[in-house]
């Protein structure tokens, strides 16, 4: 089940709301950047192509019908942007990966990315911090967040499973996220920064 639904944001972005599209960029820039990095080895070029991908996506967002997940649609734009960049540079894609070979299944988006050690280390640290914080959560909060993130259930379904009102589900998921977020902030301080390879 696709647990990533962006209907509210897409709807606003299709009406020209740049704030809504900004949230979509924040959500998907890492994954799209990782995809493009597989084909565009130069750091600055990869970042430029990633930007270009999102700009093209905003211009074409009116044509997104919702037949597939938004990320899948975005993925195709990113792949084409990377391909066009390579053609423009008159370079061939890496021999071990072609755009046509890429599996677009949700679980396979975690591609073998060409990244620098610092980025990998940061990612590993973050993953460890999240896992540790998740383990330390109170059981009711952990259950709610697990059903949402791992199982992809809706709030209504989670409320049915846990036998509690939807409002309680909302509150538990929020408190779980906040607890984990406080742990992340302790580890990394302010998130974000430049794209260094």
């Amino acid at each position: 089940m696709n647990s990533e639904s962006d209907k509210a944001l897409i709807k606003r972005a299709q009406k020209g709301d740049l704030g809504a599209f900004d949230l979509l960029v924040l959500k998907y820039q890492g994954r799209i950047g990782a995809l493009i990095s597989r084909y565009v080895s130069n750091d600055a070029d990869a970042e430029d192509v990633t930007q270009e991908c999102f700009i093209k996506a905003f211009r074409a967002i009116g044509s997104f019908r919702g037949d597939s997940a938004f990320y899948t649609w975005l993925y195709r734009i990113g792949a084409n942007a990377a391909k066009n960049h390579l053609v423009a540079c008159k370079r061939r894609p890496h021999a071990d990966a072609t755009i046509e070979d890429v599996d677009l299944r949700e679980s396979n988006y975690a591609l073998i990315e060409i990244s620098n050690p610092e980025s990998l280390a940061m990612g590993n640290q973050l993953a460890r911090a999240v896992a540790e914080a998740m383990e330390k959560l109170p059981s009711e909060l952990k259950s709610a967040l697990t059903l949402r993130e791992f199982e992809g259930l809706s709030y209504d379904d989670i409320a049915t499973v846990l036998g509690c009102p939807v409002g309680t589900v909302r509150s538990r998921i929020f408190r779980a996220r906040e607890t984990i977020d406080e742990k992340i902030k302790e580890h990394f301080g302010v998130m974000g920064g430049g794209y260094d390879r």
Partner: protein
């Protein structure tokens, strides 16, 4: 950071796309006012990605500011065509008017000097300008031909000229008296350029 529990819970609900239309409007109002909510959104997304996949993609990458800037510039440019059309139309009109002014002949500053300095008024006629009248050079050479300038021939032509002038003058006076208050001009004068040979009357 002034974290209001209600705002953050709405943000969490938006992460799961479970917010109602009213709640979406609410949270976007808060996002515009509070930039830290945007950072919170980014961290919520990272946590979500880690929980679902066990990893995070390029945590240091952030193209959002640049993308937002470029899209804002594009949006501003898209709004400009209305003004561009207005400006273009104004410029076009100005060029056309300036071109018309350029192509129009310059006004005659003082018409009197071109006609006569012997006295008498020139009645200005709207749309018309005085024309400097003089004999064509070729015609002048014909009129100065020996057979025409001999004393006998010249006397004959002088006589004919006087008689015709008298006749035309009386005819003009009769008509002018009936149709126009303009003073009758007894003689027609032309400006004589220094180079012109005098044609005897």
């Amino acid at each position: 950071m002034t974290d209001k529990g209600g705002e953050l819970e709405l943000l969490s609900v938006l992460v799961d796309d479970e917010a109602s239309d009213l709640e979406v409007r609410q949270i976007f109002g808060e996002l515009e006012a509070n930039h830290l909510l945007r950072e919170k959104w980014s961290r919520y997304q990272l946590v979500s990605e880690v929980l679902r996949t066990g990893r995070v993609s390029l945590p240091g990458l952030d193209v959002s500011e640049k993308v937002n800037y470029k899209l804002e510039q594009t949006t501003k440019t898209a709004l400009h065509p209305v003004w561009s059309v207005a400006i273009a139309a104004s410029v076009t009109i100005a060029v056309v008017l300036a071109g018309q002014q350029f192509l129009m002949p310059p006004p005659i500053a003082d018409a009197h000097k071109l006609v006569s300095d012997l006295g008498g008024e020139v009645v200005p006629v709207s749309g018309a300008e005085p024309v400097l009248a003089k004999f064509d050079k070729n015609l002048g050479s014909i009129l100065n031909a020996p057979e025409l300038t001999s004393p006998k021939t010249s006397d004959v032509y002088k006589g004919i000229t006087r008689a015709r002038l008298k006749l035309f003058g009386s005819q003009h006076a009769a008509v002018a008296a009936l149709t126009s208050p303009t003073p009758f001009i007894a003689v027609a004068r032309t400006h004589q350029s220094p180079g012109d040979k005098e044609v005897s009357n």
